[in-house]
């Protein structure tokens, strides 16, 4: 298909596998095996069964009546917030833990920013009885205390990343270093559509269940599989990749990705990679990257820890480049207001990441009767502290 990854792991000019030679055997093993494993009937059956019985899929495609009235369009929310553990992240960790088992790995490592991917990884490790180490920036550990304790309660070891800026990108560095030091018995569960090939494609495939369900659900609700617009937030881009996946070739469906603009794209405190980034290489792939003229990676900023990443997955860099996906950005303030609005209108407190997607509603020109699907990637329980600090509700 037109937007698929090529055999060298590239989406157009983005992607690849820029990894130290020490990791070559691991990445090569994954590259050779991942499709063989995940396309096996027995794998699919086990994956589907866990998604159904354990994660609680399919998640509802909920018609948000009061939100629709306000924005004068037909707005559906894809309720990933109702997944076990509270976000879409678990779709990927279920897939990858099954893959790790098929590859005979005994130990799991992961990186996490807000802690959602860390929790989703710790969860599936508990489920499968596997040892789990999660790297988390020291700064993020202090900001996201409850998730640190959730991971520990689930039996994972949480290791503070103390290097660099001590946030998500440094946690990713530490996880890669751990993998370099433990190459044979360990699988690294990356949490978004980032990293060296085949990770971006693999994670996108596991998350693609989101758009597969939207197609079926919308068909039965509206008599058509294609909405007019799909909106999703982008940190690394896994929930967006999942929500867009089965619509990429339906060019009449407008796909909209929303990045975090922090305190504004001109403020020096933003995480809007397509606005502020240039092509570069980080964490194993060539993609759009926020960096200095000298090629040093710049620390992004967003109120939402899950969107606080200096790059985006190579698939999104490509979809941006060729114009298939339209990129918007929402500031902290716009996202917080959208989060409060959804809470009041629909009784759903969204994750602040997902609130960025909701914030796009007031930026777009909507036609009456247009069908819009917003991917509600997670719930706001983890963000209560931030909502309280924000205070304006």
């Amino acid at each position: 298909m037109k937007y698929d990854v090529d055999s060298n792991g590239y989406y157009g000019q983005f992607g690849g596998a820029f990894i130290p030679e020490m990791l070559y055997p691991n990445i090569e093993e994954l590259r050779e095996q991942y499709l063989k494993i995940i396309e096996k009937e027995s794998f699919k059956a086990e994956f589907d069964d866990l998604l159904k019985q354990y994660v609680g899929r399919p998640t509802p495609l909920y018609f948000a009546k009061r939100l629709s009235e306000k924005y004068k369009a037909k707005i559906y929310l894809k309720r990933e917030d109702l997944c076990h553990t509270g976000a879409h992240k678990v779709n990927n960790t279920i897939g990858q833990i099954l893959l790790a088992k098929a590859l005979n790995k005994q130990k799991i490592i992961a990186e996490t920013g807000a802690g959602q991917h860390g929790v989703a990884t710790a969860t599936v490790c508990a489920l499968m009885g596997m040892e789990c180490i999660v790297y988390m920036g020291e700064v993020d550990m202090a900001r996201q205390r409850p998730n640190v304790e959730r991971m520990r309660l689930l039996g994972a070891e949480v290791v503070p990343a103390k290097s660099g800026s001590r946030t998500l990108k440094d946690a990713t560095n530490e996880a890669m270093r751990h993998w370099i030091s433990n190459p044979t018995d360990t699988h690294y569960i990356i949490g978004s559509v980032v990293g060296p090939h085949p990770y971006p494609d693999m994670v996108a495939r596991f998350q693609s269940v989101i758009s597969a369900e939207i197609r079926t659900q919308l068909s039965s609700l509206e008599g058509r599989a294609l909405p007019d617009k799909i909106i999703a937030c982008v940190g690394g881009g896994s929930n967006a990749a999942g929500a867009f996946y089965h619509y990429l070739n339906d060019e009449r469906v407008e796909l909209i990705a929303v990045e975090a603009a922090g305190k504004g794209n001109e403020s020096g405190k933003s995480a809007a990679t397509t606005v502020l980034g240039k092509p570069g290489v980080l964490h194993g792939s060539k993609t759009l990257l926020m960096q200095t003229e000298d090629g040093q990676v710049v620390e992004p900023y967003s109120i939402s820890a899950g969107l606080d990443y200096p790059g985006i997955g190579p698939i999104h860099a490509h979809l941006f480049d060729v114009g298939r996906v339209k990129f918007e950005s929402a500031t902290d303030q716009e996202a917080m207001e959208a989060g409060v609005e959804l809470s009041r209108l629909e009784g759903i407190i969204p994750a602040i990441e997902s609130a960025h997607a909701l914030a796009a509603l007031s930026k777009l020109e909507l036609k009456a009767d247009e069908i819009i699907v917003i991917n509600l990637s997670g719930r706001g329980d983890k963000d209560l502290e931030t909502y309280i600090k924000w205070g304006k509700y």
């Binding site: 820029f18 030679e21 055997p25 370099i180 044979t184 090629g295």
Partner: protein, 269 residues
Amino acid sequence: MQLEAYYMNRINKLFNEKSSGILSVYYTAGFPNIDDTLSITQHLQSAGADMVEIGIPFSDPVADGPTIQESNQKALDNGMTLKLLFEQLKGLRESVDIPVILMGYINPVIQFGLKDFCKACQEVGVDGLILPDLPVLEYQEHYQSTFQQYGLKNVFLISPQTSEDRIKHIDSISDSFIYMVSSAGTTGAKDKFSKENMTYFQRIKDMELNNPTLTGFGISNHTTFEQATQTSSGAIVGSAFIKTITNSTDLKKDVHEFVKRLTGLRGTN
């Protein structure tokens, strides 16, 4: 001197002249102080090091352990950039004749511009490059011809996990030396190599590759230096050297003592 040898890349010349006990030292440009880059190179040469690897600092050095990470961060905090490094190295070949390699991650090179980077390397007299996150295939497709055009040797890494076929392939596309990573891990100092490490060193030696090898990662003292040099042409030292110069108040003295301690003898004045 024969004309052929005169035009020969300094790295090849070194390995032609010396097949064991080679000492190559890594340090980060702009560390501990921003203006130390060139003087450390000079001290290393006078202390008897055979080759130097100057690190281009990067914000996210994934193949490096804590010591080199911290030196990278310090250098960046000092204001080090790739542009500045080439400025600092402008007079390099007036005082230094041992081979000089730049070691760093690919992103700063991409931002500098591949051609401009290679040209600047050639102008200041850099002989080779070690870019751990530039994979073999990518090198062959997009970098090799430019590197060659500017006379730069690209040095590849191998590790205990690298398959025999892949080592042979890497050997076939190398024309200087192969960097043998001592064990599974990032850079960092070790006291001693295990039996397992030594078995791997011997296995590589027995492959009788076309290119010589240097052993790196974990070399920190005379013991590890000797162990490395038994099965390869020599050793690469990084973290242990960085530790030595971190709080140095007399760089010349400390560099000389370091080389002496490691090799057991060298050091001229």
